[in-house]
Amino acid sequence: MSYIPGQPVTAVVQRIEIHKLRHGDNLILGFSIGGGIDQDPGQNPYSEDKTDKGIYVTRVSEGGPAEVAGLMIGDKIMQVNGWDMTMVTHDQARKRLTKKNEDIVRLLVTRKSLENAVRHSMLQ
C-alpha cells in the first residue's frame, strides 16, 4: 500500500459485490467511508502510511449489505464500478458510491491481510 509518485500502484485486491438495500427512499450500502485527497491523512487510524489519502472503510453496520458481502472495517477501496478511488475527494467518493441508478456496486478493496495471505501462499 505504499505509494511512489509516478509509479503505478499495485495491490492485492479482493472483489466485493454489494447489493444495495432499499431503505425508504434511499439506497444504502451499510458502511461509512473516510479519507480523500481533500482530507487530513494523518488522522486515519486504518492506514499504514499516514500520507495515504485513499478512501477507507471506517465502519460497517451490522447485518447490512456490506457486511454480508464481506467488506471489513479498515479496508481501502481502490475502485468502485471501474472508477478509481485512490485519488478522489471525499465528496466524489460518496457520489460514486451512492448513484441512484445503480443497484449493485462492485468494489475492489485491499487490506493488509490479503497481502500477507498471498505472500504466505507463495512461500509454501
Binding site: L29, F31, S32, I33, G34, Q39, N44, R59, S61, T98
Partner: protein, 519 residues
C-alpha cells in the same frame, strides 16, 4: 597574580598618519625585503629582551603559604606587615616588569609627530618667509588675500583638531613588521611636503617672487592637499576594516576555549592585535591547574604488564612496546568510569564549599551597615570602608580560602586583593552576591591584569608574511609562553537577499477535515 606576565604595548608605528619615519622606513623596507626571500614558518618575536620566565611561578599552587584563612582572627596592623611568600614573588615580578618601558615604543609616534608638525607649519612658513625676507618688494594684496587668510586659518584648525582626535592616541601595540598603510601615508605626506618645498625654494625664494597672492594661494593649495591626505588616512586606517568580511575562529590550545569573531579587511598582524584585544575581555582566564586529568586515572593503563623476552638476541624494543600497547588495548578499560565518578565527586565538593561560602558572606554582610545621619554614634565606632572590610573579613576568610582552593583559584586572589575587593563592594553598597561574582566564575583575563608599563609579549607564528591581507583558509597562531591561540580564517558567505511580498489579506485558514460519511 596572573599567569601571563606582561602585555607589551604594540605601538602602531605612528599615531599620526602623516608623519614619516623616512630613515626608519627605508631601513625597515630593506630588512623586510631580505627576510621575504625565505618562505616557510615565520615566527616573528617582539621586543623586551631578558624577559624572565616568571609564568612558571604562579602554577605552583600548593606549596605557598595561603593559610591566611585559618590564622586570621582579628585583623590588626601586624598581619599587614608580615610578608608571605607570595608577596615576595609578586614584588620581584613588579621590579622586573616595570624596569624598561620600552623606549622603542614611542619612537614611531615621536617621528610621526615631528613630521606632522613639520607639515602643519609648512603653510605658515610659506606665508611668513616672503614677509620676513623681502617685504618691501611684495605686491600689495588686499581683500582677496585676507579672505584666503581666513580660509587657511580654518582649514588648519580643522586639520589640527582632526589630527588630535584620530592620530594622537597612545599606541596599543608594537607590530613585528611595518604597518604598510601607515608607512605609505607617511611617505606620501613627506613627498608632498618635500615637493612643495622644492618648488617653493626654486620658484619663490630664489627669484624673490613678488606676487604675494600667488604665494598665499599656493599655501592654501598645500593645506587642501594635506586635508585630502588626512581623508585618505582615515579611510585606509579606520574605515576600511569596519565592514566585516571574514569570520575568525580563535581556539586556545590548552583548554579549547573558543570564540568566533567578525572582522574586516586587515593584514595578519593588525588582525592579531585586534584579536588579542578581544581575547583579554572575552576569554576566561587561563588556569593551568584545571587542565589535567588526575594522574591516578590515566596511569593505571600501562602498569599491569611485564614483558619477558624469550629469544636471547633481542633488542626488539619496538616489538615489546607494541606488544604492551596491544595488550593494554585489549584489556577492559575502566578509566572512563573513574573519570566520571571523580568528576561527580569534584562537583559535589565544589558545590558544598560554595554553599558554605555564600552563607558565610551573607552573614558577614549583615554585620555592617551604612551610617545614616540621624544615628548618633560616638566617633570611635565609625569606620571607614577599609576598617569595615577588615572587621567582617575574618568571619568569611576560612570559607573563602577553602572555596578558592577547591576551584584552584588561589593563585589569583591574595588576601590583600580580597580585602580590597571587599572594601570596594562595601563602598558601593553592593550585595554579597555582587561581591561573590568575582570569585564564583573565572572572569576574563583583563580582570586579573595588573597595571604595568612594559606590556605583554605575544609571538605571531604564521606561514605567510604577516603584512599580507587576511584570506580564506589562512591559519596563524599567537603564542604565549605556556599556551597559544590558533586562529582560522573563513570568509563570510556572500548573501543573496530576495524579496517576497505577502499580501496581508492572503492569510486565510481552514480547519483540517476528517469527515466520515455513511453510504
Amino acid at each position: 597574580m596572573d599567569t601571563e606576565s606582561q602585555y607589551s604595548g604594540y605601538s602602531y608605528k605612528s599615531s599620526h598618519s602623516r608623519s614619516s619615519r623616512k630613515p626608519r622606513d627605508r631601513r625597515d623596507r630593506h630588512r623586510s625585503k631580505s627576510r621575504d626571500g625565505s618562505r616557510g614558518d615565520k615566527s616573528v618575536t617582539i621586543q623586551a629582551p631578558g624577559e624572565p620566565l616568571l609564568d612558571n611561578e604562579s602554577t605552583r599552587g600548593d606549596d605557598r603559604d595561603d593559610n591566611w584563612g585559618e590564622t586570621t582572627t582579628v585583623v590588626t596592623g601586624t598581619s599587614e606587615h608580615s610578608v608571605s611568600h607570595e608577596d615576595l614573588t609578586r614584588i620581584t615580578k613588579d621590579v622586573e616588569e616595570s624596569a624598561a618601558p620600552d623606549c622603542r615604543r614611542f619612537l614611531g609616534p615621536a617621528l610621526s609627530g615631528a613630521l606632522g608638525l613639520f607639515a602643519f607649519l609648512t603653510p605658515l612658513a610659506f606665508l611668513l618667509l616672503p614677509q620676513l625676507l623681502w617685504r618691501d618688494q611684495l605686491d600689495p594684496c588686499g581683500t582677496p588675500c585676507e579672505g584666503l587668510y581666513v580660509s587657511l586659518a580654518f582649514k588648519l584648525l580643522v586639520l589640527l583638531i582632526a589630527s588630535w582626535a584620530l592620530f594622537l592616541r597612545p599606541p596599543r601595540a608594537t607590530l613585528p613588521r611595518i604597518f604598510v598603510f601607515r608607512s605609505l601615508l607617511m611617505v606620501l605626506v613627506f613627498l608632498f611636503v618635500a615637493s612643495y618645498w622644492l618648488f617653493y625654494g626654486v620658484r619663490v625664494l630664489e627669484p624673490r617672487e613678488r606676487d604675494y597672492r600667488g604665494i598665499v594661494e599656493y599655501a592654501a593649495s598645500l593645506v587642501d592637499a594635506l586635508l585630502f591626505i588626512q581623508y585618505l588616512a582615515i579611510v585606509l586606517l579606520e574605515i576600511r576594516q569596519i565592514q566585516p568580511a571574514f569570520c575568525l575562529k580563535v581556539v586556545r590550545t590548552t583548554d579549547g576555549a573558543s570564540k568566533f569573531y567578525n572582522i574586516g579587511h586587515l593584514s595578519i598582524q593588525r588582525a592579531a592585535v585586534w584579536i588579542l584585544e578581544h581575547y583579554y575581555s572575552d576569554f576566561p582566564v587561563y588556569n593551568p591547574a584545571l587542565l589535567n586529568l588526575p594522574k591516578s586515572i590515566l596511569s593505571k593503563k600501562m602498569s599491569g604488564f611485564k614483558v619477558y623476552s624469550l629469544e636471547n638476541s633481542t633488542n626488539n624494543s619496538t616489538g615489546q612496546s607494541r606488544a604492551m600497547i596491544a595488550a593494554a588495548a585489549r584489556r577492559r578499560d575502566n578509566s572512563h568510569n573513574e573519570y566520571y565518578y571523580e568528576e561527580a565527586e569534584m562537583e559535589r565538593r565544589v558545590r558544598k564549599r560554595k554553599a558554605r561560602l555564600v552563607v558565610a558572606v551573607e552573614e558577614a554582610f549583615t554585620h555592617i551597615k551604612r551610617l545614616q545621619d540621624e544615628d548618633q554614634k560616638n566617633p570611635r565606632e565609625i569606620m571607614d570602608p577599609r576598617e569595615a572590610a577588615q572587621a567582617i573579613f575574618a568571619s568569611m576568610a576560612r570559607a573563602m580560602q577553602k572555596y578558592l582552593r577547591t576551584t584552584r583559584q588561589q593563585p589569583y586572589h591574595s588576601m590583600e586583593s580580597i580585602l580590597q575587593h571587599l572594601q570596594f563592594c562595601i563602598t558601593h553598597d553592593m550585595t554579597p552576591k555582587a561581591f561573590l561574582e568575582r570569585y564564583l566564575t573565572p572572569g576574563p583575563t583583563v580582570q586579573y591584569h595588573r597595571e604595568n608599563t612594559a606590556g605583554r609579549q605575544w609571538t605571531l607564528v604564521s606561514e605567510e608574511p604577516v603584512t599580507s591581507a587576511l584570506r580564506e583558509g589562512a591559519v596563524f597562531a599567537l603564542r604565549r609562553m605556556d599556551f597559544s591561540l590558533v586562529v582560522t580564517v573563513r570568509r563570510i558567505p556572500f548573501l543573496q537577499v530576495r524579496e517576497e511580498f505577502i499580501d496581508p489579506k492572503s492569510h486565510k485558514f481552514v480547519m483540517r477535515l476528517q469527515s466520515e460519511t455513511s453510504v
